[in-house]
Amino acid sequence: MRVKFTVNGREQQADDVWEGESLLYVLRERMGLPGSKNACEQGECGSCTVRLDGVPVCSCLVAAGQAEGREVVTVEGLADFAEQRARRGGCATGACGTAAGTAAGTASSGTASGTSLDAARRRQAKPAGADGRTGEQAGLAPIQQAFIDAGAVQCGFCTPGLLVAADELLERNAQPSDADIREALSGNLCRCTGYEKILDAVRLAAARGDARTTGTGA
């Protein structure tokens, strides 16, 4: 079958998709977007978390066909997504009560970058160019910058899913308590960090001025 949906602000389509293929498989193997991770493919670890019309879901549990006509945001699109949310005053999705997919609507009209299928396929990992001490980068969502700065990334396999989940938490709740953070991230397993630095990262992103600020990590 053919499946068409919007990924990170750009219309994408995949042909010859098997009925049983998950959204995760289509993103990773057909659209060249391997950022969402395949740690369990059982809906237990959260590594594959993406936003589907604004709602965080385990993409390994979503049949690709269920995404037809909908908006998907993956870790690859998180920075753009956060930037657009900041531009619109902090509310990019239905999760805040406005119409879903407004950010993506703008994107597909050509003002935002989005990754083309072709470009994604050819993509080579790029070297990091950061200052080694502060690591400050342009073009990262605040939560991404905070994960780097707090030392919340070790092997990093859990990171994409945690970032998508944490970004959504901060969108809903700019000043979460520790209990709120733990509750929001309880569906995301991490085997390396012991979670303490992940908590630090979310606290740091919140302290830096919540999800409405974006771009520089300042």
């Binding site: 950022g35 395949n38 740690a39 950061a130 001490r133 509750e183 303490e196």
Partner: protein
């Protein structure tokens, strides 16, 4: 390689001079990892690639009567189906130390989930469905599942004709290795004891449960060789095992490390490496294999489950008199790292205490259970669980404070291990205990809020089953000792290649090693070392591959010590060459070139008095300095096979924990409120990563204390819970705050004085949690993990 996308990449990172060792420099791969661009082994992709799938045995011990692959091969989209008969050479087994593991089962299977056949197809689902059409007839054989069934008269032999080097000295062919340690006179010392405590302890089978599944991509080369991109812990060890099976010389198997999603020992053994290469060479196409979580539970070895019998004595003033103990580790169907695990369990079975008179025996069994091998803490974890329970028992019997009792018996620098080896670096055991004890305790009844109970803070969490009526608190302590590096005479070396040149008008150092970065942060530390030694800001980390000499394994807490040591050593030699170059070019300009101690700092050649002699850019202009050198730590020696005596270890690492738990005695649920740790790290090369490692290790210890266990059905030897639904690892709700107090007492034998840190925190966190639960409930609790039924007596 043409056509491969998302390959491992050079990591370049700038950093000011103060981003050298001791600074909390950030990871050079951090940005790639937070943007989703980092190329993990399961992300690799090649035009025209096929997917490999492994068919695994559904029974634990059986003769293979027949295999019929014809129907599978006839499926559209299937390119190859391979069995044992398709292996290209006479080498059909592999193994870390003993080559007893079949690439594909031949004649029989020895454990549930053993690989039997391989399929390559154009879609993973096609491969899976084709594999389901392979028909295998098994004739089941009697099982060996524990010491009793393995060593009784007429027990079936897991390996019929052993020829390995342990076969001659083990008491039974179903025992992989046995290490006794006898020192002093334990019998005589026992007679001096005023109190004696004994205990029998059971340590469940833990899984590494790294998040990145076993995966990789094999690309056939035009020269008949193969390029393998894979997540592993030791490229050269893999290479040594892969090449003979493929019938290729090692230089035709080119291995590159791709992104590793955690390891914890579970990637020391091969998983899909040979399988992918076989399929790629057979089909002439790139083949990718990615295990799903279910398969991952069969794809790697687990932590040895253990039974431990302990007897300690003490005088009434609280001095330990003796230790008698017996440790039985279940190694499962294949040897993997079992012999070395036995060496660790026996030599560290007394823990960080002074005990002169000991009678110790550790063995590992062959059985039809899942194979067990390396996991963080490696044999020391199981022993620590038992000796720490014993310390509490003794303290209680003597009416002493458990921490004071431990401190009274704590080892110090100069103490001898039961192997006779002197601990010749700081051993701050009493101090670490003092530090964890001194940390402020978390407030009582932390679930109570003005509106009632915050159920999220109670045992049982969000399930809202209680409001705290039956909750009791307990506090427990534990401390442990772990050896660092490979022991028992192993030639534990590493290699580093360092190149220094001017790029874009700046001096740049490139560090090339075969070290597996598995998340621990070695890449960060290597850049820091190069900055410190070479005075440059820009450092490029070359992807790890087999084009450079071996770095040894990323395990045994050894990588920063040994490969870090190799990078330091090579940098020092590079520095000498750079200075020679400088002397040649500018030596006549200033007498200090010949007379002063010179260092490289801030991109310049500087005298020890701080005088700048030249810019590195000018010294290096038009030339590059490039060296590849091996580096070794002090040699160790094997343990005597009868007495266990010998200087077997290189270095030790110590950590202490205090656990605070709340137990709902009605529900049988435990919530760990806080797990404080104090650890001596010798020198923290990167404090941020050090704390991260300690917290991560602590959490894995917490996991095995209260939830993690692979359950093997004793009647069928089948794994019952190969999923994250049924094998539970701690979530952020299960994991408490982990305050960490880091001590830095330099080990003068180690580079920068550092100590390997990765494993020690995994040792003591488990017994600390158990001690706290015992303290809260008064129950004996002699097994991990503690389950609700153990707490409610149901």
């Amino acid at each position: 390689m043409t056509g491969v996308t998302r390959t491992p990449t050079h990591l370049t990172q700038g950093g000011t001079a103060d981003a050298g060792i001791g600074a909390s420099t950030l990871r050079p791969d951090g940005t790639l990892k937070v943007t989703g661009e980092f190329a993990y082994s399961s992300d690799l992709w090649h035009e025209d690639m096929l997917w490999g799938f492994t068919l695994r045995s559904t029974v634990a011990h059986a003769e293979i009567v027949s295999i019929d692959t014809s129907e599978a091969l006839a499926q559209p989209g299937v390119y190859a189906v391979l069995t044992y008969d398709d292996l290209p050479t006479d080498v059909k087994n592999y193994g870390l130390e003993i080559q007893d593991t079949p690439v594909l089962a031949h004649g029989k299977v020895r454990h549930h989930g053993e690989p039997v056949a391989l399929v390559a197809a154009d879609h993973p689902e096609t491969a899976r469905r084709a594999a389901a059409k392979i028909s295998i007839e098994y004739r089941e054989l009697p099982l060996v599942t524990d010491e009793e069934s393995a060593t009784r008269e007429g027990a079936p032999l897991v390996h019929e004709n052993r020829t390995d080097h342990h076969a001659g000295h083990v008491p039974h062919p179903n025992i992989v290795h046995r290490q006794p340690i006898v020192r002093g006179d334990a019998e005589a010392a026992a007679r001096r004891a005023d109190v004696i405590v004994t205990g029998e302890y059971v340590f469940g089978m833990q899984d590494q449960a790294f998040l990145g599944p076993e995966s990789g991509l094999a690309v056939p080369g035009e020269d008949g060789g193969v390029d393998l991109y894979v997540a592993t812990q030791w490229l050269h060890s893999d290479l040594r095992q892969i090449a003979p099976v493929l019938g290729l010389p090692e230089e035709k198997v080119r291995m590159t490390l791709s992104g590793v999603g955690g390891a914890f020992g579970g990637r020391e053994d091969l998983s899909m490496q040979i399988h992918a290469c076989l399929l790629a060479l057979r089909t002439g196409k790139p083949v990718k294999i990615v295990y799903n979580r279910f398969e991952s539970f069969f794809g790697h070895v687990h932590r040895h489950p253990a039974k431990l019998w302990y007897e300690h004595g003490a005088t009434k003033d609280g001095k330990l008199t003796h230790l008698k103990c017996r440790i039985v580790l279940d190694g499962g169907a294949y040897a993997s790292a079992s012999p070395a695990v036995v060496g660790n369990a026996s030599s560290l079975s007394v823990g960080p205490y002074v005990v002169e008179d000991v009678d110790i025996e550790a063995i590992a069994l062959y059985s039809n259970n899942p194979p067990c091998g390396a996991m963080r803490g490696f044999g020391a974890v199981q022993a620590c669980f038992a000796y720490e329970a014993q310390m509490d028992k003794l303290a209680k019997k003597l009416g002493m404070d458990p921490v004071e009792f431990r401190q009274l018996n704590a080892m110090e620098q100069g103490t001898r291990l039961p192997t006779g080896q002197e601990v010749d670096s700081p051993a701050p055991v009493a101090e670490l205990l003092r530090r964890v004890k001194a940390m402020p305790l978390p407030p009582e009844n932390q679930w109570v809020t003005t509106e009632g109970a915050d159920v999220r803070a109670l045992p049982g969490g969000l399930s809202n089953t209680t409001h705290g009526e039956d909750v009791v608190r307990g506090v427990g302590y534990a401390v442990g000792i772990k050896n660092v590096g490979f022991s028992e005479g192993f030639d534990d070396y590493s290699t580093a290649r360092v190149r220094m040149e001017v790029v874009g008008g700046e001096p740049v150092a490139t560090v090339h090693t075969a070290m597996a970065e598995v998340g621990q942060g070695g890449v960060t530390v290597h850049a820091q070392i190069a900055r410190t030694e070479l005075g440059v800001e820009q450092v490029t980390i070359h992807p790890a591959d087999t084009q450079v000499g071996s770095a040894g394994s990323t395990s045994a807490s050894r990588q920063t010590y040994v490969t870090g040591g190799a990078v330091k050593n090579t940098c020092e030699h590079v520095r000498e060459k750079v200075l020679e170059l400088g002397r040649r070019k500018f030596g006549t300009h200033h007498p200090a070139w010949a007379t002063a101690e010179l260092v490289l700092e801030g991109g310049k050649v500087v005298t020890d008095g701080g005088e700048v002699l030249a810019d590195l850019v000018d010294v290096l202009e038009g030339e590059a300095v490039d060296l590849e050198l091996e580096w070794r730590h002090r040699p160790t020696e094997a343990f005597d096979l009868r007495t266990g005596q010998g200087n077997g270890h290189v270095q030790y690492s110590f950590a202490a924990h205090r656990a605070v738990v709340e137990v709902d005695t009605g529900l049988g649920l435990v919530k760990v409120i806080e797990l404080a740790c104090a650890q001596d790290v010798g020198k923290a090369l990167n404090p941020l990563s050090v704390v991260g490692q300690i917290q991560g290790g602590t959490t894995q210890g917490l996991g095995v204390a209260v939830m993690e266990e692979i359950i093997v059905d004793p009647k069928t030897a089948k794994v019952r819970n190969p999923s994250f639904t049924d094998y539970l690892i701690p979530t952020i709700l299960d994991t408490p705050t982990i305050p960490v107090d880091v001590l830095e007492l330099a080990d003068e034998h180690a580079p920068y004085g550092l100590r390997g840190i990765g494993e020690a925190p995994t040792l003591s966190s488990t017994p600390a949690v158990l001690a706290a639960i015992r303290n809260a409930t008064g129950l004996e609790l002699n097994r991990t993990p503690v389950r609700p039924e153990h707490l409610t007596g149901t």
